[in-house]
Symmetry: C3
Subunit: 453 residues, 3 copies
């Protein structure tokens, strides 16, 4: 045990200060374009973090009192932070507590423990820090030793923040990610408006299916020109199908004459078109699947999307990706990264698939599973069948900028623990473990997202 702990610590110390490679997440690029200070402790740690306010809500605390959504606009941020501090015990055993603890102690240097008694003091301490030059977004980005941060951006985004960052004298590398769901999903209420915007932004005539494809290609090129190396899809069920008549389905969708199932089948077809475009332009394709969105309709109506009511569901990756993989899956230059919320697919589907198809890599534990036990289950279930080289390293997938170092730290601790256990079980020695530690901390992410220079 001592031996195990010793090995884990040795490996952890080798990687803990490696640069942070963050190839997928939801930070707002304007933070780095404008470099305006964060507002206050509630805006920093509670209001934008659905991991945090969903837990408070689950114990009967109204979302409006937590500053969430339109109804929360009237809430006093100091009161929001008090509610959070008072209920800090609810987070015992959760990664949110680990991350917030790390942010408070390691990142912000606050030594007292969060509680009703300390709430106001800590709130003020954080307020003071945020007002200082050395807690502005760019400064923190550099201090965090972030080598690269990818944002996630609508396919229609003109990327002005990314352009502004590139033009600035600041050296931080913040790149966009092409997220085309809004222009592919006929069930999106904004679909037709998005098509119109797509035509306008690209100068293509999107009345025809070929014009639509050209417009998408143009948008991808714009993202590439601004540094993007990847696309991203967020879907509920995985379904792909190569249609013989995509143009006809497109016309029905475009003219509001869609049949039942048209939108879903069209999306399934377009996933394959997107993969084919990736074969051409080299963008890495990410598929995040298995979240049923907005399951609480009252909360959706009053507070909007992403309010903690997105719940995972069972997924069939084998059937779902069949059409796509049989069209492009043997392309050795293509990269498709799969993210699941259904852990039963780690060993049953994802590891065997990634251990065969040249294009596939398994993304790191995602969302609810980005946690110490989630990381342990991931390694336990994927490595024996997929090996390490079919993994995509880590990404933090967060919109909480300050939690980035905390999340990478939890991953690196998990990596060190896993590898030390493998050594203890005789799988390999510390020389190999050391190499793998570096791979898992940074190199696999660089490789998977084609970020190597």
């Amino acid at each position: 045990m001592h031996n195990l702990q010793g090995k884990a610590e040795e490996l952890y110390h080798l990687i803990k200060d490696d640069p942070i490679v963050s190839p997928h997440g939801h930070c707002d690029p304007s933070w780095f374009a404008k470099d305006t200070p964060f507002a206050n402790a509630a805006e920093l740690l509670v209001i934008p973090d659905h991991y945090v306010f969903r837990m408070l809500y689950s114990q009967g605390i109204p979302l409006a009192n937590l500053g969430v959504g339109e109804p929360g606009k009237a809430a006093d941020p100091r009161e929001v932070f008090r509610l959070f501090a008072k209920n800090w015990h609810l987070f015992l055993g959760t990664p949110s507590r680990v991350w917030v603890d790390y942010v408070l102690h390691n990142t912000l240097g606050i030594s007292s423990t969060l509680s009703t008694e300390t709430s106001d003091t800590i709130y003020d301490q954080i307020g003071d820090l945020l007002a200082q030059e050395d807690h502005r977004p760019r400064f923190l980005f550099d201090r965090f030793n972030i080598e690269l941060l990818a944002t996630t951006d609508s396919a229609l985004d003109v990327l002005k923040d990314h352009v502004a960052i590139a033009k600035s004298d600041w050296g931080g590398r913040v790149i966009p990610t092409f997220r085309p769901d809004g222009i592919l999903d006929g069930n999106d209420p904004e679909f037709l408006a998005n098509l119109a915007s797509l035509g306008e932004k690209t100068g293509q005539n999107v009345d025809s299916f070929s014009g639509y494809l050209s417009a998408i290609r143009a948008r991808r090129a714009h993202f590439i020109a601004n540094g993007a190396t990847a696309t991203d899809h967020g879907i509920e069920h995985v379904m792909t199908e190569w249609l013989s008549n995509p143009d006809e389905v497109y016309q029905r969708l475009r003219l509001g004459q869609a049949n039942d199932g048209d939108a879903v089948r069209f999306y399934g077809h377009m996933l394959i078109e997107m993969a084919q475009m990736s074969c051409d332009d080299g963008l890495v394709m990410q598929i995040h699947a298995g979240s049923r969105r907005n399951t609480n309709r009252d909360v959706m109506t009053a507070f909007g999307r992403d309010k903690g009511a997105d719940i995972p569901i069972g997924i069939d990756w084998v059937k779902g990706l069949d059409a796509l993989l049989n069209r492009v899956g043997n392309d050795t230059e293509l990269r498709i990264l799969l993210f699941t919320l259904d852990e039963t697919t780690y060993a049953r589907e994802l590891a065997p698939m990634a251990g065969h198809w040249p294009c596939l890599r398994i993304g790191p534990p995602w969302w609810f599973h980005d946690s110490p036990a989630g990381i342990a289950r991931y390694f336990d279930q994927v490595v024996e069948t997929a090996g390490y080289y079919n993994l995509a390293g880590f990404n933090d997938d967060t919109r909480a900028f300050l939690s980035i170092p905390a999340r990478h730290d939890v991953w690196r601790q998990g990596v060190a623990l896993h590898l030390s256990e493998q050594v203890s079980k005789g799988y390999f020695d510390m020389t190999d473990a050391t190499k793998l530690a570096g791979l898992l901390a940074t190199d696999l992410a660089r490789k998977a997202y084609k970020l190597e220079t």
Copy 2:
């Protein structure tokens, strides 16, 4: 490791003698109303315990030889116990062996190990003990330090045993639980007879749907008047649906003119009605889902229900509870406790759902999973996403009265082990672990079932 073991033992000793809160189970209330002695070792440990005789049956031993069901009535209990003793090795590695060992050694003070050689002696020792005053049900209840025991009772039950206990000079708290499946499930062969009985018992005219609802409300009130704090549903698949015309479906069922699917959809509607009644009268709602009952039809025909052939199946909680939750799920006073036999739903569905919906709590590991490894998997998979405060503590769910202390003891050991590991991993310190130990041993159950005084 020593450290880990030391911490686990420290935590275990803090909670091992806490009172037993048993808010869900299947003990017979007449045991405590009449306080008649248990008959013999076979009646105590083998014949009523489907965990035990299913294992013997799986290795080719006829159920009739084990005293089970009608065909087993002729079996000599001493011979039944001999068969059990002879095959004691079959239980190596199972919680049944742990429980029976605990009962024999800790509860009954028998020092010898069960085997063919010791069978008769132990049988006689147990017989002698059971004949003594201090091994009657009430005495044992008090000696076990049971703070509360809930039974599970048909919605049509007049609760005479509970009334008798309340009127007696004995202070034990034995409360009923409202189990309405027989009056909700149109597929139950007794459904029409149950409706008639429901009308009679309540004086309501159940020919109309509104009369039927009133009758159910009256029965719930009767249970509440006799101490009930909870209801219970046992279902195969989870399906809820708010019907626009429940009265019409009710009439078809009542008149034997049901269409295909009417019974299932009506049950799905009535689950929501039950939840709404819980909003009104405060009864905690329990849903035990995912067991396919009586899969062995020959055994069912010859020996009846609950004979070890109930097998778990996969469950979709997200879809199944959608209609119910979107009707009442944001009510912060409502409590719905979910029990699953499909462990894949712990991390994927139950923890995210309980970590959002104010009404939901996750019940403890149930049935096959109420075991050391089952408890470890439960904590591993629910805590990071649901926290501890969205759990419902423990309940033993047993019809084997003597095993109650054994089952709570296994849980408490599991709690201590889990918390000590969390401390070792740095999740929290021993101060927090100590608080959580008490919560998990008793307080969360008291809270979840509204038993706090």
Copy 3:
């Protein structure tokens, strides 16, 4: 921990040199009939092993360069071995690396580590060894201390290799296994040809359903006469159904007039017929379910079956076996061994089912799950509900003859580790653990396959 490790080592040393019982696998019986030397290191370790070349393929190495299939015939085996050696790091953390390491070091006595630098030397060393008398198949079989090896053979096989082995002066016990899928599956392209061959080989008129059944019985008798004790089925979904008119469906299939679903339902019926024949002739029935075969159609077309693109899928054993079990499942002489690739069914379905039905036993972790972590998950999830006596021990299921000792060794280490943990948790003492170790290493396999003498 020391204690735990000490116990594990003690148990391992008790069983590590036990004879190898290998009741299910895919070795070629001609190796032992003809006793010709293995060709070279690539033919031994890379080309026939889909565990190995799938991983190389997943990282972009063409199968043809690895000597696989028709297109691989031109590959120089030395170059194939070089490619393997160069990419040896890809196998870090996989059981393939553990097995190949064991073969190289323990079986072949090669001390250097595989790498680009050592590739040619090791290739030559292996070549030299294989040319020697004491590395011929029969010699290795004896040296490996194999008590019994079962092959898997088409129902139409005349078993000439098995006959030759029996007639030879060599004492090794190599028995066939009856695999009837080709004569049961109306979707098999060879089905009609197989029927014709079945008629010819047995002299039965297979134009009638009863003649078809008689022919199958005759083939089973032929296998039994040549030492078989078991049958084997490899299926995607589990589905059984007792048809009222199997003869009509058979006629439609036979005459090429099948309706949609006929082939699947007929197979579902025939599984029950096979179980009934097992009740009569005593052959143990194996069902390997849950692999979607040949999911990569380009690879299938160019390289054929079994090329690493078989991916597991979710399975419903409860529903799937319902018809079969309700027809024959209470027969205490019948043995049906279930193998799953869907680990979610271990605790949810297989353990409860095997803990009830007298005919069922759970096969060992199969294919991707035959690995240290896979074995640990298996014990963790099946033992508490099924006990040890409802397990079928171990089988290696390999076509890589040299890996047999390695695979049994990994299992035995897993057994020792599991049992030592059970002892540490207080489940039982070392006396019981010692007995269970012997059971799990050999005796349960002998019992399950009726190999006891």
